[in-house]
């Protein structure tokens, strides 16, 4: 029996590494199309926060206004709970921006000494209200606590700008991407022959495999018969955050966003028939879907319990065919 798959046929997750910046895990008994959809959603469709509008009051530096504005947009900002805490600016009732749909940061620096002064991301200060006391703070990971350089100033030069950070998704602009890169792999030993590499002499030498993943997936036996019906079931993910969100939040948000997408489709397909509320909870405002009995799921995370994207707990999904997963001691 497969030592990595202790739960038989149920979809399950195993971690190889989990810390504040990376989640390296594998999903088992899953299917390729869904795994890839999840990967794509995590790359491009999770809402985060980034500077979108800049009012330039003063810029006597050597860089042009739009050059600096572009650099400001790319600075990762803490995106704690943006999903619920902020509205999309376009959905907000306000004119332009307000505290419900944006976080305002101010950059104000002047060089008064001889020599070059660097302006860092830490010099961006949140001004005005924000929904929680972490959102909008620039992500600073270096030991000196400086962050990335925005601009260099010489004596007498100054910059003064008001930056409006808004919620958005990476499909609109890559500055909203929550993850730096997502490693994705299946069938590391190429047992399914989905790949046919070009090689000079020996493909084993010229195409090194990821040893860890390859061992987990099982090294093929010499002379093993080829299974024409085999489909991939084990997927290796390596999610690395840019810093604005915890890596687990990225994955959980990805799942939510994908479920929301599918929920929209289901709702639309249902629309034509007469609406039978027996099927789904429809638009029920009831949060914290009571249908799920798993206490661990309820206590998790920033997005308000385990309310399903359907809103209602009385969905047919409450009882999945897989039942509750016992906590594993792996």
């Amino acid at each position: 029996m497969d030592p990595y798959d202790v739960e038989g046929g149920a979809i399950n997750v195993r971690f190889l590494q989990a810390d504040s910046t990376r989640a390296n895990f594998l999903i088992q008994n899953f299917d390729l199309a869904t795994a890839n959809a999840l990967r794509r959603v995590m790359l491009a469709e999770i809402p985060t926060l980034a500077i979108d509008v800049v009012e330039v009051f003063d810029n006597t530096s050597v860089l042009a206004d739009e050059f600096i504005c572009h650099r400001l947009g790319l600075i990762p900002l803490n995106a704690k709970n943006v999903d619920e805490a902020l509205l999309y600016s376009r959905d907000c009732e306000c004119d332009g921006y307000c505290e419900n749909c944006s976080v305002t940061l101010t950059l104000n620096a002047r060089c008064t000494s001889d020599g070059v002064m660097k302006v860092y991301a830490r010099d961006l200060v949140v001004s005005g209200g924000r929904p929680n006391d972490e959102i909008g703070t620039p992500v600073i990971k270096d030991p000196e606590g400086l962050g990335s350089v925005i601009v260099k100033l010489n004596k007498g030069q100054s910059v003064h700008m008001k930056c409006i950070a808004k919620k958005g998704i990476a499909k609109e602009h890559a500055k909203w991407a929550p993850s730096a890169a997502i490693g994705f792999e299946y069938d590391p030993n190429n047992k399914l022959r989905h790949l046919d590499y070009w090689y000079e002499e020996d493909p084993k030498k010229e195409w090194p495999v990821d040893e860890t993943n390859a061992n987990i997936d099982g090294v093929p036996q010499e002379g093993e018969a080829f299974d024409y019906d085999a489909a991939p079931t084990r997927f290796f993910f390596d999610v690395e955050t840019v810093g604005g969100m915890e890596p687990d939040t990225i994955v959980q948000q990805g799942i939510r966003v994908l479920q929301q997408k599918l929920a929209n489709v289901i709702q639309e397909l249902q629309g034509g028939e007469d609406i039978d509320m027996g099927g789904f909870g429809g638009q029920s405002p009831q949060m914290n879907g009571g249908g799920y009995g798993d206490p661990t799921a309820g206590s998790f995370s920033a997005y308000g319990g385990n309310a399903s994207v359907w809103g209602g707990g009385a969905t047919p999904y409450g009882a999945t065919p897989y039942g509750q997963q016992p906590p594993s001691n792996w």
Partner: protein, 129 residues
Amino acid sequence: MNAPDRFELFLLGDDEKKVEEKDETRVPNTAVFTFNKEDHTLGNLISQRLHSYEYITFSAYKIPHPLFAKFELRVTTDGSITPRDAVKKCCEDVVADLEVLSRSFTTEWLGKRIINEGEQDRLNRERDL
């Protein structure tokens, strides 16, 4: 200058619907669904997933033009279920799978973090000795 706004990739237009269904009259039990403001993420997911149901005889998607954010999904069933219900069922099953995944992820993540922290504590204690 005249580049389309990038939010047009994912925001529905004023008179647009997410999914439009059109019956294919030349072939029985067949429909073509047009998904507006969606891409390969959903197209590949649904069309491939449909292959796993035995009542589906055909399912595939295409993006008619790369500059327009829409795809067409063509579904043929064996007649025991309408294409519309088949797609709906498929989506529901994916949502259920994702729910299981989400829960497993949560427990495993917490477990791994606890192990990591325990390990860290142990290392710290050993260093202090």
